[in-house]
Amino acid sequence: MQFMLLFSRQGKLRLQKWYVPLSDKEKKKITRELVQTVLARKPKMCSFLEWRDMKIVYKRYASLYFCCAIENQDNELITLEIIHRYVELLDKYFGSVCELDIIFNFEKAYFILDEFLLGGEAQETSKKNVLKAIEQADLLQEPRHEYFAVPVY
């Protein structure tokens, strides 16, 4: 996989993960063009399209589009299920996830993604194992009272 983008129906980017080295300028250009292309597609259309020299696999969940760019020899359907598994992981972690969870806890969304996909390849496909890793990390979080004394700004 070359990259994964999450964006809203309004075209706001919510998460971006790049597995190939690109300059910030290129990333912005790709994001802008791709978001436009995908948003322009109608609901019943197929989830795959050829775009530049990549294959794009995307799926809409509620107000969010999940969009992956894969190489030519990669498998479209299994990528579609990668997206779904990621959604399941977010859902299980946040408890029926919504776009707001991803906005306010964007760092968590990145951490979960890293446990699931690394370098653009599936690292661990078991839902249990991924969540276990995240839970363990959460257990390492400092008790909350440590922060209460600290001013907000």
């Binding site: 980017l13 971006q16 597995y19 080295p21 597609r41 109608k42 019943k44 259309m45 197929c46 989830s47 795959f48 399209l49 050829e50 020299d53 020899q73 498998n75 479209e76 359907l77 299994i78 579609l80 299920e81 990668i82 598994r85 972690y93 946040f94 408890g95 969870d101 906005i103 306010f104 806890n105 964007f106 760092e107 968590k108 990145y110 951490f111 890293d114 690394l118 370098g119 390849e121 599936a122 690292q123 661990e124 496909t125 078991s126 249990k128 194992n129 890793a133 995240i134 839970e135 990390a137 959460d138 390492l140 979080q141 400092e142 909350r144 440590e146 922060y147 600290v150 907000v152 700004y153």
Partner: protein, 983 residues
């Protein structure tokens, strides 16, 4: 679920994020962000040391701002500080910041790498994973330098936790992708392969991606993975849906792992081991069977996961291309999907069938779905699906269905999405050409193409139709009639005017008998379009007019009047003005003989790869069409106008009917970069000179020819022939570039000359090289003829003959170079002399360098100087032959090869080849009259090598056995190698 911190971990962050969300305008957002940036900057710069929590919070805010799309130019140092925090969340945010905002600040990289190193050696698996994730996310060269040797160690160490192994495998993969040179293969590689056997499915899932990537680059080192992958796959495929617990996804056992395993197997040919292969075929059959079973769940996830495996299995079946049964089953399965209600499946089935169409085993099976595919092209609502359908129609097209497919594609073109029209046009043009049995159909198709989608018809397409019409005289009359009719339309596309102008200018006479298309009617029709056209088209039309004057003298007055009017002869465009002036002058001065010669019908075009095909390949990227092309070429022997003799002088083609080469008249497609400005001026003066010198008193045809068609006959500029002794002496004017490595086809070209001494050694779009050679004893002389096929001179043309490596001591090659920068055939061919010192197996290299249109051309060929050229035939009796045969009985003196016939096995052909070889063909020697026996002596400076040859054809099996016995073993081997390619 765990107490999710939902932002209350960092309340300040949550507040900031909701502030941003509440901003009513972009300006308000920017204002809020700038305020926050100022705040963070002051905190970071402040005297009071920040605690870890604050640092984490501010770094996280910066990250958020960056992800919103704003630039961040500070905070890196604070993020790096977080890396060494012993609090997990602080470390985690630090790593996230670094992963997203890498900065190649050398000082920072060193600090980052240090922190990573500490975490990697911490033995705390959570920290190790964080560090590995960071390396995998950044994947920079600096990180590869620092960790490429460390990570394999972690990956294969016995005490590494599973989760760390998983991260390490994919981390290494990322480093290998960015810096393959830094990841050293070592003893760890074999242990990595064995991770395929790991108990933990997650470890296998991660490791297999690494193994697949490494196998692609180093297939031999990893080939043991094939049998491991097959047995793993077989265990998964045969497991019940609950066996794999959490690795079962919607009742499908380990779909990701299965796909990756099938993908890995695609890096290799089918397993050689029968048992492994049998097991794999069984797996593939099971996967195909499962597709027919009723679904275990109605959820789309179930069918997607199942079909993902199925499609990957089909890819493998297509990759092997050796199991007809599986290929046909795959095709049937895809056929079912073609009508599936899921758009995604229809899309993928069309895509996958495209590759199946190129397999000889499944081509026919694919063709049975033609109606469904045509229907898809017409009715699919999604353009990307229609595009796939069009691709598949193109792939399944052959002679039997070409007319139907081309007709459907043409009618689709009328409503096709703009984004795919150009490609569709190219495809229609290619199919129409490739499968044209009836050329009037071809002409109709292309003209329809121009009518329907003229804007998308590129130059290549209309050049091609003209090339073909010119080369096929049986279609010229029809073409003239059809364009004439097409031009009747009140609004017709400019490309139609171009084709019409060209074809009527050449072949208008073929329809001039009909009063409805009399010369004047034709001219008026063309000229009615003139004012609506662009400059290049007008230029082409002017050339057509002068051709009309030649074809139909009765139009002369009318046309001269047109040329004479101010809008032509004083046109502000220099090209048009020049043509008008020249043509007017030419038509009034030249005699009809001269006119007829100058404006002669175009000679046929030399055959070459269709420029349209080249364009499609370029458009689709390499490999996209090559598969089907290859197959098609195999299936369809005869290409359009691939037969018959080509024109005598290829250079003539470049100078079209116009005296001034302009891009618009360039049909060859090879001179598109020709300088438009430069050429006309020189030609202009040349023309005027000729006319003023010769005067109006009807110059002789020869003189006129010379001047006017300067492209053809201009004498070679430099023919300073200098004899250079010794090889490797390059011209001082030669471009400094090193000689190119020999062309990939150099050996093939060389093989053509083993049994003959004269012919065309090489030909490309620019240059043709002919060879004449003669040999006596240990001496050889070779003449090289360089033909310039273009209309421009080559600058700094140099040739160098050299003997690479040990050949230097085996063969003396000296060249007598003569500059041949001119056009056409060089009058003084370059000669090279060879003196063979001892036996040799390599061939001397000929390097040619010259400039064409500014670009340096550098090509290296092998000169066909092969050891057999120095044969002296030896006649001997049957008795003598066998006596010597027995004398040469040491095993190394004999070389034998059994091989399949590549060429005709006809007796006369074989005899001619064996004589061409240079040996004596001995009759009545072999007891079996079918066999051929030859004898000869190779003359070298130092010694003579006796050679005996026996060739035993087996007509039934289309095989040969070739045996050589020579007094020197290296000669036996080399001759055997050379000759095995000849029969």
């Amino acid at each position: 679920m765990p107490a999710v911190s939902k932002g209350d971990g960092m309340r300040g962050l949550a507040v900031f994020i909701s502030d941003i969300r509440n901003c009513k305008s972009k300006e308000a957002e920017i204002k809020r962000i700038n305020k926050e940036l100022a705040n963070i900057r002051s905190k970071f710069k402040g005297d009071k040391a920040l605690d870890g929590y604050s640092k984490k919070k501010y770094v996280c805010k910066l990250l958020f701002i960056f992800l919103l799309g704003h630039d961040i130019d500070f905070g890196h140092m604070e993020a790096v500080n977080l890396l060494s925090s012993n609090k997990y969340t602080e470390k985690q945010i630090g790593y996230l910041f670094i992963s997203v905002l890498v900065n190649s600040n050398s000082e920072l990289i060193r600090l980052i790498n240090n922190a990573i190193k500490n975490d990697l050696s911490s033995r705390n698996p959570t920290f190790m994973c964080l560090a590995l994730h960071c390396i995998a996310n950044v994947g920079s060269r600096e990180m590869a330098e620092a960790f490429a040797s460390e990570i394999p160690r972690i990956l294969v160490a016995g005490d590494t936790m599973d989760s760390v192994k998983q991260s390490a495998a994919l981390c290494l993969l990322r480093l290998y992708k960015t810096s393959p040179d830094l990841v050293m293969m070592g003893e760890w590689t074999s242990r990595v392969v064995h991770l395929l056997n790991d108990q933990h499915m997650g470890v296998v899932t991660a490791a297999i991606s690494l193994i697949t990537c490494l196998s692609q680059k180093n297939p031999d080192e990893f080939k043991t993975c094939v049998s491991l992958a097959v047995s793993r796959l077989s265990r998964i495929v045969s497991s019940a849906s609950t066996d794999l617990q959490d690795y079962t996804y919607y009742f499908v056992p380990a779909p990701w792992l299965s796909c990756k395993l099938l993908r890995l197997l695609q890096c290799y040919p089918p397993p050689e081991d029968g048992a492994v292969k049998g097991r794999l075929v069984e797996c593939l059959e099971t996967i195909l069977n499962k597709a027919q079973e009723p679904p275990k769940s109605k959820k789309v996830q179930h069918s997607n996961a199942k079909n993902a495996i199925l499609f990957e299995a089909i890819s493998l079946i297509i990759h092997y291309d050796s199991e007809p049964n599986l290929l046909v089953r795959a095709c049937n399965q895809l056929g079912q999907f073609l009508q599936h209600r899921e758009t995604n499946l229809r899309y993928l089935a069309l895509e996958s069938m495209c590759t199946l169409a190129s397999s000889e085993f499944s081509h026919e099976a694919v063709k049975t779905h033609i109606e469904t595919v045509i229907n898809a092209l017409k009715t699919e609502r999604d353009v990307s699906v229609r595009q796939r359908a069009a691709d598949l129609l193109y792939a399944m097209c052959d002679r039997s269905n070409a007319k139907q497919i081309v007709a459907e594609m043409l009618s689709y073109l009328e409503t096709a999405d703009y984004s795919i029209r150009e490609e569709m046009v190219l495809k229609v043009a290619i199919l129409a050409e490739k499968y044209a049995v009836d050329y009037s159909w071809y002409v109709d198709t292309i003209l329809n193409l121009i009518r329907i989608a003229g804007d998308y018809v590129s130059e290549e397409v209309w050049y091609r139709v003209i090339q073909i019409v010119i080369n096929r005289d049986d279609v010229q009359g029809y073409a003239a009639k059809t364009v004439f009719e097409a031009l009747q339309a009140p609004a017709c596309h400019e490309n139609m005017v171009k084709v019409g102008g060209y074809i009527l200018g050449e072949f208008g006479n073929l329809i001039a008998g009909d009063p409805r298309s009399s010369p004047l009617v034709q001219f008026n029709l063309l000229h009615s379009k003139f004012h609506l056209c662009s400059v290049p088209t007008r230029a082409l039309l002017l050339s057509a007019y002068i051709k009309f004057i030649n074809l139909f003298p009765e139009t002369k007055a009318t046309i001269q009047e047109v040329l004479r009017c101010d809008s032509q002869i004083r046109n502000s465009d220099v090209e048009l003005q020049q043509r008008a002036v020249e043509y007017l002058k030419l038509s009034s001065i030249a005699s009809t003989d001269v006119l007829a010669t100058v404006l002669e019908e175009m000679p046929p075009f030399p055959e070459r790869e269709s420029s349209i095909l080249a364009k499609l390949k370029k458009k689709k990227g390499p490999g996209a069409v090559s598969v089907t092309e290859l197959e098609d070429n195999k299936r369809e022997g005869g290409e359009l106008n691939g037969e018959g003799d080509r024109g005598p002088d290829p250079a003539a083609m470049a100078s079209s009917n116009a005296s001034t080469p302009s891009p618009s008249a360039d049909l060859l497609g090879i001179r598109s970069a020709a300088p438009v400005g430069a050429a006309p001026t020189s030609v202009g003066s040349l023309l005027v000179d000729v006319f003023s010198e010769a005067g109006p008193a009807a110059p002789s045809a020869a003189v006129n020819d010379d001047g006017f068609l300067r492209d053809l006959e201009q004498p070679t500029e430099t023919s300073d022939s200098l004899l250079v002794e010794g090889s490797g002496d390059s011209d001082s004017a030669s471009p400094s570039e090193d000689p190119a490595p020999p062309l990939s086809e150099a050996d093939e070209l060389l093989n053509k000359f083993v049994c003959k001494n004269n012919g065309v050694l090489f030909e490309n779009q620019l240059l043709q090289i002919g060879i004449k050679s003669e040999y006596r004893q240990n001496l050889g002389r070779m003449y090289l003829f360089y033909g310039n096929k273009t209309s421009v001179q080559f600058a700094s043309f140099t040739t160098t003959v050299s003997c690479p490596g040990e050949l230097q001591s085996q063969l003396n090659a000296s060249d007598q170079t003569s500059g041949t920068t001119g056009r056409g055939w060089s009058p003084d061919p370059t000669g090279t002399q060879h003196r063979v010192l001892t036996d040799f197996s390599d061939a001397p290299l000929l390097n040619i360098k010259f400039r064409y249109g500014g670009a340096l051309q550098n090509l290296t060929l092998k000169l066909p100087v092969t050891i057999n050229k120095f044969f002296q035939p030896t006649e001997m009796t049957s008795h003598d032959f066998f006596q010597r045969w027995k004398q040469l009985s040491q095993p190394q003196q004999e070389a034998q090869k059994i091989f399949k016939a590549n060429h005709s096995m006809d007796t006369e052909v074989l005899k001619a080849k064996l004589l061409g070889l240079g040996t004596a063909l001995l009759d009545d020697v072999d007891p079996n009259s079918e066999n051929y026996v030859c004898a000869g002596v190779i003359q070298t400076k130092g010694q003579q090598v006796g050679c005996l040859l026996r060739l035993e054809p087996n007509g039934q099996a289309q095989m040969y056995r070739l045996t050589l016995r020579c007094s020197k073993d290296s000669v036996s081997r080399r001759l055997c190698e050379l000759l095995a390619e000849q029969f």
